[in-house]
């Protein structure tokens, strides 16, 4: 039995990242049962250097997904439980006076990890929320005049309770925009639920699983995402989608240029995972709902309530170019 859990990776051909991703996805699917599409989307989000917002009721497996992802990718992992009295210093860290050296010493907060799980982010006050979002945006933290870079890769998975629950501060639209995708896990179907109930504890199972993708490999893949070929035809299609959301009266406001860029990156990541040499319309369509679902506010009379409805409506309103 080999002691080094990473040793087997050397046996996979270095140039075949798709195989590595596929094995990661199938491994994660054994932990989170019946949610392969959501797992793939989370992977695509990670590859596109975006951050992920998971919105669902408590107990749907949000935390497990984050934990499993960190484990399978061999990333350092920190979990921050957001509460109503959490302060920014609790997230980014604090300077403490060191009596031995007669100087201040910065104690890094939980944000200094490769994968950070911000649990129940909408239970914190806006002040704490914005400390997290600023760190996400800048990829660095500044305290006492010192700038500390965050680790690389850096991936935040924030979870959020549905906003109608008591004691929540819903993220404003400007901050929702910082997340590349928003996912909903949803209830498992009956067969998978039975499997979950009859099977072993997920945490035990996870600890036995090997790392399938090294951080170095992840960085290589992340660098390859923007290089995936985008044809003019696909750009036409993307622009048609964006311009539809701006001219349609179904939405309060259309997609921003940043949203268009996010859509393109996500589609590129998806195409890379599918092994396509160029982005296909289907790649774009696959990531459409998670990317635009939280960015568009439907007009009051538009009869579009769920993010899936928004995505389906936009998708069916624009012809493929």
């Amino acid at each position: 039995m080999n002691n080094n859990p990473l040793l087997h990776l050397l046996e996979t051909p270095a140039g075949d990242p798709i195989a590595a991703i596929n094995s990661t996805v199938s491994q994660l699917s054994q932990i989170i049962l019946g949610k392969e599409i959501q797992i793939r989307l989370a992977m695509a989000c990670l590859l596109a250097r975006g951050h992920l917002l998971i919105e669902d009721l408590p107990g749907m497996g949000k935390t497990t997904l984050a934990h499993a992802l960190a484990h399978c990718l061999g990333l350092t992992y920190n979990r921050v439980q957001f509460t109503s009295d959490i302060l920014p210093a609790d997230i980014i860290g604090v300077s403490v006076f060191d009596r031995n050296n007669s100087s201040f010493h910065f104690h890094k907060g939980p944000i200094f990890a490769q994968l950070v799980l911000a649990d129940e982010v909408n239970r914190a006050t806006p002040k704490a929320q914005s400390a997290l979002l600023e760190a996400m945006e800048e990829q660095q933290v500044t305290a006492d005049g010192h700038t500390y870079p965050l680790s690389s890769p850096f991936f935040v998975i924030a979870t959020q309770n549905p906003t109608y629950q008591i004691g929540t501060y819903p993220l404003p639209e400007s901050q929702l925009d910082r997340f590349l995708m928003r996912l909903q896990l949803g209830y498992p179907d009956a067969a998978h639920e039975r499997q979950l109930l009859s099977g072993r504890d997920r945490r035990d199972l996870l600890s036995e699983m090997p790392v399938t993708l090294l951080p170095a490999q992840l960085l290589i893949l992340q660098n390859r995402v923007p290089k995936v070929h985008v044809s003019t035809a696909l750009l036409d299609y993307l622009q048609a989608i964006v311009s539809y959301t701006r001219t349609s009266n179904k939405f309060v406001a259309g997609l921003s240029p940043r949203a268009g860029l996010a859509l393109l990156r996500a589609a590129q990541a998806w195409a890379l995972m599918q092994g396509h040499t160029g982005v296909l319309p289907e790649d774009l369509q696959a990531v459409l709902t998670p990317v635009i679902g939280h960015r568009l506010v439907p007009a009051e009379d538009a009869a579009l309530n769920k993010p899936a409805e928004i995505g389906a409506h936009v998708l069916q309103s624009v012809a493929v170019q």
Partner: protein
């Protein structure tokens, strides 16, 4: 809000009321030119109907019910019938159409009714052209037509969704596009020689010549500056004193009134003329009378269906009711009627009963004192010249013995008085004589070298028969007021008479303006309104067709139309040419068409992979080809690996796919 106020606030009108307001305005525009020749109650009724209809719309009241509408329509019909005693004819027709437009407005509520109103308005507007075709009307017609077409477009475009300005732009553009076609039709539609249709006389009072003359009656001579006819001479025109335009010859005299003879005299006359002849073309304004004024002796005319009487009146078969052009060859030095038959002699020496005894006595005395007839003529002219006779346009009325009264009492008069008195004196002495009325002089317009003869140039003179010389023109007015003949009527007035139409000629600038205006008008009448088969022939010969008949014209018209529309089609085809020329896209479109024929329609938002996988499931036999097609298409369209041979393969596969 009090009733009636709401109607004044156009901004607050409902959409439908604004449409109706626009339609009412349009009807008013079409009706306006007709106001002059319709009885006043018709425009009033139509306007009343408009106000009523708008009131209904603004106040959301009910439309008059069917019975009321039927009764009103019937009343309108009866009113027109009573007024004109007919429903036929130009005036009765326009009256009926105007009334019915008003009635139609009262039941209009939807687009279909509006369209009918619009067509009625166009019809009314063009009916005005049957009355007159003057140039001054043209801008108004163009403006109104544009407005009406704009209304049509605007209402059909849904009114509120588009601004009126945009509709106006569009209709103007469309009318401009129609201009070449209109020009083609104008040039090439074969013209029938002569009048295309004879317009019914519409009873306009003529200010021109009458066929009788009563110098004794109180009559201010009408000084209308309306144009009687225009003449274009080939070569130099005769001097002013020679320009006598003969129109009507008056033989019968009852002591007060001179009249034409009841039957036309048609004995052919021998005419001897000098070498000097004048060839000219005359554009005659409608006079509603059959006679055509001609320069003294007409030798040839181009007028069809006309006759020349033995006293040399040129008569058209029908009254002249529209502008006509006549080519004439005429002479001003001539000799005719040397041999006078007995009937003629008796006719032209008769004097009614025993009226005017003092003049008869004077005539016999003076004739006895003269050696021969020509000396006697001069003696009478000298009488006018030497005694205190005055030329005036406002002479006093004459008593029962008109000639006596004039010669011995009033001694004031204009051409009619002198011509009448002179002719009477001749007849009293047994010399055959008659009165001729027509026009004298005319004003030469230097701008286009046209001679313009106006109604105010109307004149009367005498013709005396002298042995060996035949009929000789004698103008007694020339004896009393030679400037009338030399310079025209304006200079002849001895009293300070206001010649309204002629005040203009006092100012040089205004005079120039008038000449220019008349030149433009002449061009309009001669070249546009009166564009006939001859003009058509000359235009066609400019284009290289010598002497074209109607068949050539028809072909030319057809070919021009076909080329016009072909050019339009080419242009439109070029403008709306398909922009998509990508062969990959075209091949994929063909593929989709073929699969669609097989019952597998592509959804607009369906990507190629999804669509072709679905097709492969539906057509397992073609699954292999479809999979390859899908790969080729996405490679060519979405990846950087596009190669020409892949395109060829794609096209080949699409071609081979069973339809």
């Amino acid at each position: 809000m009090p009733a009636g106020i709401a109607m004044l606030r156009v901004q607050a009108w409902p959409e439908s009321a604004r449409s109706l307001g626009m339609l009412s305005l349009m009807l008013l525009m079409a009706l306006l030119p007709h106001v002059a020749h319709l009885p006043v109650w018709i425009p009033l009724c139509v306007t009343g109907a408009m106000v009523w209809r708008l009131w209904i719309e603004v106040h959301a009241a009910a439309l008059p019910n069917k019975w009321l509408r039927s009764i009103m329509a019937l009343l309108a019909l009866i009113a027109v019938l009573v007024n004109f005693r007919s429903l036929n004819g130009l005036e009765a027709g326009t009256a009926l159409l105007s009334m019915m437009a008003g009635m139609k407005l009262l039941e209009s509520r939807q687009l279909r009714d509006y369209s009918i109103l619009i067509f009625i308005a166009l019809f009314l507007l063009f009916a005005e052209l049957l009355y007159e075709q003057s140039m001054i009307l043209l801008p108004y017609l163009l403006l109104s037509t544009t407005f009406i077409v704009t209304c049509l477009l605007h209402l059909h475009d849904g009114g509120s969704q588009i601004s009126f300005g945009a509709s106006l732009m569009r209709s103007t553009r469309m009318l401009l596009q129609a201009l070449p076609l209109a020009a083609l039709l104008f040039l090439l539609v074969p013209r029938l020689p002569g009048q295309f249709w004879v317009l019914p006389s519409h009873g306009a009072a003529t200010t021109g010549l009458n066929d009788e003359m009563s110098p004794g009656d109180v009559a201010d001579l009408s000084l209308s500056s309306e144009v009687a006819f225009r003449v274009e001479f080939q070569g130099t025109p005769p001097p002013k004193s020679q320009r006598y335009w003969r129109a009507v010859v008056l033989h019968d005299f009852d002591g007060r009134t001179w009249r034409r003879h009841r039957s036309e005299l048609l004995t052919p006359q021998k005419i001897i003329t000098s070498q000097q002849t004048y060839r000219y073309r005359m554009l005659m304004e409608p006079s509603n009378e059959p006679w055509i004024p001609v320069l003294d002796i007409p030798l040839q005319t181009s007028l069809r269906r006309s006759m020349l009487t033995s006293d040399l009146q040129l008569l058209a078969r029908q009254p002249v009711t529209q502008l006509i052009a006549v080519d004439v060859l005429a002479a001003t030095e001539y000799q005719f009627g040397v041999s006078l038959d007995e009937t003629m002699r008796r006719l032209d020496t008769q004097l009614a009963g025993s009226l005017n005894p003092r003049s008869r006595e004077l005539a016999l005395q003076m004739r006895a004192a003269s050696n021969d007839d020509s000396v006697y003529v001069n003696t009478v002219l000298n009488l006018f010249r030497q005694q205190e006779f005055f030329y005036t346009l406002q002479p006093p009325a004459l008593g029962a013995h008109t000639v006596d009264d004039f010669l011995f009492n009033t001694r004031r008069g204009f051409c009619e008085h002198y011509a009448s008195a002179f002719t009477f004196m001749m007849r009293a002495a047994g010399i055959p004589a008659r009165v001729v009325t027509g026009y004298q002089g005319g004003e030469l317009n230097e701008v286009n070298n046209y001679l313009v003869v106006r109604q105010s140039d109307a004149h009367a003179w005498a013709e005396v028969w002298l042995a060996d010389r035949g009929w000789v023109r004698v103008d007694p007015t020339a004896a009393i007021a030679p400037q009338r003949i030399e310079q025209g009527l304006e200079s002849a007035g001895t009293y300070n008479e206001a010649l309204t139409g002629h005040m203009l000629s006092r100012s040089h600038w205004l005079y120039q303006m008038r000449q220019n205006w008349d030149a433009v008008n002449t061009f309009w009448k001669a070249r546009i309104v009166n564009f006939d088969s001859d003009d058509q022939r000359s235009v066609m010969s400019l284009l290289g067709f010598s002497n074209p008949d109607w068949r050539t014209l028809g072909w030319a018209l057809l070919i021009s139309f076909i080329s016009f529309f072909a050019a339009m089609m080419l242009w439109l085809g070029w403008k709306y040419r398909p922009r998509q020329r990508d062969p990959v896209v075209e091949a994929y479109a063909t593929l989709k068409r073929k699969l669609s024929r097989a019952g597998i329609d592509a959804l607009p938002h369906e990507g190629p992979v999804d669509y072709l996988s679905r097709a492969a499931l539906a057509k397992p036999a073609l699954a292999g080809e479809l999979r390859e097609l899908c790969d080729l298409y996405i490679t060519l369209r979405y990846t950087p690996d596009a190669r020409p041979h892949l395109l060829n393969r794609l096209r080949q596969l699409v071609r081979q796919l069973p339809a």
